[in-house]
Symmetry: C2
């Protein structure tokens, strides 16, 4: 019955951005044009992942959505990655590379989405601090099998707006970049019906550093100008 | 009679962005709340600068504006910098550092605005290529007197929209960063009434690298997505 649904693993799906991603992806199953999917939340502990899955479903129910066509389950990071065709890394950069080693075999031929931003706090503001490869995306590419299709996306979505599935009407641009044209197209399609995002082609993976560096910029601009949950639009 | 007007030198004011800046600054003299100013276009050749000044005035006249209260003159880069209280560098990065050596004495205690973006073309796309200091802004700071107040601003304004003084209704955010709080405030005030820009505090000068890197991103996004003259908005 679910055989045609796209299986998406949200690793670190118990965190702030992960929670929002899970809700937005789940809602696509209620839309005519959304990408039909089945979501597997991955975490170090299966119990935490299970709880996050239940919480997401009950949040959607509390908002009045019919969740009978929505599947969200919890699992370990490894099992989630094994089961999925598309994997999203909503994990801090410090923890990403060790995790990739753990789940390496499960990444063969998969689409791996990185919204990961390496940044540090200096004083009151955040500074983009890419690894020597030039970006988290390129470091991730180096650490994964050659058959893994790396797509950098979803760096610049304010978690607050992502999670606010009912009230949020703001539509921001989501930049998507990858060296794999087909994988990029799939992620852009997925983005199209998340209810708050318009995808833009960001070019090849080498461009990911600029996208990653926008996240500390957005946080800093919000802090410096008394704003909140800033997203970005190009026009 | 013009004693209270802010004297602004636009060095390299004969180029694409320079032309647009001159027109936008000149128009402030016709607005109730604009910063009243006198514009001196600087160029390597006084004749070229003179011609650019005349062209700007006749463009404004052709658009139907009353230019009797607008002063735009041409001069050499050095004399323009000497005469001005605020200096804008609308010059390619390659040419900026040698010019700063030439006009060094004229920069003491002045506000020096850099919209300069070091970038190179690789294949079809542009790549941000900052100098070893980390950004053009920091390289410029290193090359100027300690009393010069460096402000990074106006990197991300599409020249086409800047120059289109009649039709352009688009309002984009302009990020302004500096270590000198007073100078930053003055440039933000100047930006407020350019007719197409809303200033945002971008923090200290160390943050300029992210702002500079947005320019190749905007050019690339336009090319990759069939768009034109892209500006940026945060919300």
């Amino acid at each position: 019955m679910n055989s045609e649904k796209l299986k998406i693993a949200v690793l670190g799906g118990t965190g702030n951005i992960g929670e929002g991603m899970v809700l937005r992806l789940a809602l696509q199953n209620l839309m005519t044009e959304g990408v039909k999917n089945e979501i597997i939340i991955g975490s170090r502990s299966r119990e935490t992942a299970d709880e996050a899955a239940k919480k997401a479903l009950s949040e959607l129910e509390n908002c009045g959505f019919n969740t009978s066509g929505i599947t969200i389950t919890g699992s370990t990071n490894l099992e989630a990655a094994q089961a999925a065709e598309m994997i999203i890394l909503t994990i801090r950069f410090d923890n990403v590379l060790p995790l990739l080693d753990e789940i390496r075999e499960a990444l063969e031929n998969k689409i791996l989405i990185t919204p990961v931003v390496p940044m540090v706090k200096e004083g009151n503001l955040f500074i983009y601090k890419p690894p020597e490869e030039g970006s988290a995306a390129l470091a991730i590419q180096k650490r994964t099998p050659a058959s893994t299709k790396i797509v950098a996306a979803f760096h610049n979505i304010p978690a607050g707006k992502l999670k606010d599935v009912v009230k949020c009407k703001a539509v921001h641009h989501a930049l998507v970049c990858s060296d794999d044209v087909e994988a990029k197209k799939k992620v852009m399609e997925l983005t199209q019906h998340m209810g708050c995002l318009k995808p833009l082609d960001g070019g090849p993976l080498q461009q990911a550093n600029t996208m990653e560096s926008l996240t500390p910029l957005l946080i800093n601009l919000a802090k410096l100008n008394g704003l909140k949950d800033l997203g970005i639009n190009f026009s």
